[in-house]
Subunit: 408 residues, 2 copies
């Protein structure tokens, strides 16, 4: 059976007419001989509407209740999608996470998929139906609804593609594909036709909002052929590949940015063994992930400055934790900066091209943009800058790395 | 364990503040030593909002998809209710129909509950939690979501009360209890403190919208102590009882009415054996229930007039069916009347008081109200009249049967 997975995001199923357009792509694929399995997100602003019901209740939110509240959003869209398939003379069948089931870890948020039972889907396909799976949700061993985190429907789609050995997984979204930078900031940004998994992984984890990071990891791990494309046009989008597709001249594949960080700076921290562990253990206990970390002042026994970034949504919680730790960690002062932005350049070409960092830092310096923190990996460099320089930094880097002039 | 079931309808959970008020009743019951199990409907207009998503898709609605679409409404309210219990320092735990599970028949609409597994609820109560069950929904043997029909949450509540051997089942609604007639029509209508199950059964099946008919049947069958009360005041409402609570003078307990009927009249039907069966089989095949039936013209071999009423929502479907049957049934003409109303008087007192029908018909005649169809049982008389006489008929019957003067 030639199975293809088609995942439609919130904007792609936000109305009857948009669902009908999605169905036109399904018809086309079926005419080409594919068996289609659909994955849907909640309709348009539904998840936000449901979250809004709990406004002011943050501290009382029991994690499993929030998950079952939010999962209702996908239940609505998958049911409606199936009804509309029927209208189009295609037998649809909706499946919620618990109906397959999609087994996940115990945790209720950002839960990971452990296993997908495919029997029901295969039976449905044998009956010439189009199974419509609610994305974003699963159940844990306690038979409670879990959710995979924002954007988790991408991960559902890729996990299904892996479990069903699908020929391809198409992620329909509201953009034409993956771009060299956010087109709203850089008007010369170009759609990338083919991108390496690792590059995509870096781009999406660094803030490019096209694909859920975990879905790319999963696609890489299970060798899923993944395509991102526009649900408005249905035209060829960006195909993920294992090949190294960069051209000689093109060292950098794309630029990502993220506004979601808060920078904590601890001043005059007494430098004693175990302090880092104390800080980061306390944060991780509350499920707060630290992203970038820097420690300055290297003389032994002298006081040092600690700086680290965490997600903006965790800032309040982290502040309380740090205040509690003050007597133990012994720092003189703490600054919390929300007006920062992380800008990253990503490209496999870095591996074999020296001087990329130098080019980046020089370009930023030329524009008088100060860097608070720098972090690097083999194929990316991220810098933390003041948010007000965001556009300037992205545009000038896009230009200096010749992304504007990139051939299609 | 002293278990009490508290069911809150849509208007009782339509906002955070209303849910908080519902929780105040739960607190009170827990203080009195009860273990509370909650059943909720979807919030306010949620079910209508969800149905509206399928506007214009009636003929394409696959029954199982609609059920899973609508069931999302209760999933939202039960999850939110549990979050708010937590805010009130009560451990809540939401359960969807499939999580208990609540087993139903195969059919997706108006499905009947076969069995409720109570293990999860009992465990939850042992943990000092308040389980919050989504009403209206269950699963069938195919592991698909089913729904119990509009108002089905009442039935969920009573079925739970029976399964858990609860001390009482409180149905919170937006009225103070069961009234002798609709208070919006008869301002002298009185709240009934105690009502016999059979009387309640007739009243609710005849259009009194306070309780789902099937919930009353179930309460009677399993001897569930059932109370209807206002979620706005929490004051004592109407208690259902097995006793015959009518007073000597008070033959009639209450007056019900319904606007949901359509009257079909077939003119000059060739009177041959099996014709009734043909008509009603054809309708029942499409799940159309016939309510009142009358056949006039009794001479053998002569043509007769057939009249029957069905639910207004089925009128279009029934019209098509009747037109298809025309050659087989051989009638000359068909009239379809939507401007009718069924008015019924109900009371155990009828059994032992002759002349009730006579009083009713005389009173209607006095007001020049013509009756199209009459149907009777041991404890009720229903008449079909033109809709324009509805208020006049109800008020004059309420008065002639001395319901206005009824002592509390």
């Amino acid at each position: 059976m030639n199975i293809i997975i088609k995942k439609f995001g919130g904007t792609s199923v936000s109305s009857i007419s948009k669902i009908e357009r999605a169905i036109s792509y399904i018809k086309k694929a079926r005419k080409s001989g594919y068996s289609v399995v659909v994955v849907v997100s909640a309709m348009g602003q539904e998840t936000d509407r449901l979250l809004k019901l709990t406004t002011g209740l943050d501290e009382y939110k029991k994690t499993d209740d929030i998950s079952s509240l939010l999962a209702a959003g996908e239940q609505i869209s998958s049911s409606l999608f199936s009804i509309l398939l029927n209208k189009n003379n295609i037998k649809g069948k909706s499946f919620q996470g618990w109906q397959l089931p999609i087994h996940t870890e115990l945790s209720y948020h950002n839960s990971h998929i452990l296993k997908i039972e495919t029997k029901n889907i295969k039976n449905s396909l044998k009956n010439n139906e189009v199974p419509v799976i609610s994305g974003f949700q699963g159940i844990n061993q306690l038979n409670r609804i879990t959710t995979l985190g924002r954007g988790g429907s991408d991960t559902t789609a890729v996990a299904l593609a892996a479990s069903l050995a699908a020929k391809r997984c198409d992620i329909y979204t509201d953009v034409a594909g993956v771009f060299s930078a956010d087109p709203r900031i850089v008007k010369e940004a170009k759609k990338i036709d083919e991108i390496n998994y690792e590059e995509m992984l870096e781009l999406s984890s660094l803030g490019a909002r096209v694909l859920h990071t975990r879905s790319v990891q999963l696609a890489l791990k299970y060798n899923v052929k993944l395509q991102v494309l526009s649900s408005f046009t249905g035209k060829k989008g960006t195909m993920l590949t294992k090949k190294n597709v960069y051209l000689e001249k093109q060292i950098i594949r794309g630029i990502a940015h993220s506004n979601n960080e808060t920078l904590f700076t601890l001043i005059d921290v007494k430098n004693q063994p175990g302090i880092s562990a104390t800080i980061f253990n306390a944060l991780s206990k509350e499920n707060i992930n630290v992203d970038m970390i820097v420690q300055s002042g290297s003389a032994k026994d002298a006081n040092v400055t600690y700086a680290f970034t965490i997600s903006k949504t965790d800032a309040k919680k982290a502040e309380a934790i740090m205040n509690k730790l003050k007597s133990k960690v012994r720092f003189n002062d703490m600054f919390i900066n929300n007006n920062i932005c992380k800008v990253s350049i990503v490209g496999l070409g870095m591996k074999t091209n020296a001087g990329v960092a130098n080019t980046m830092f020089t370009e930023l310096a030329k524009n008088n943009i100060n860097m608070h923190v720098i972090s690097t990996s083999e194929i990316k460099i991220s810098v933390l800058i003041d948010e007000k320089y965001k556009e300037l930094a992205i545009r000038s880097l896009h230009s200096i790395f010749k992304l504007n002039a990139r051939k299609k």
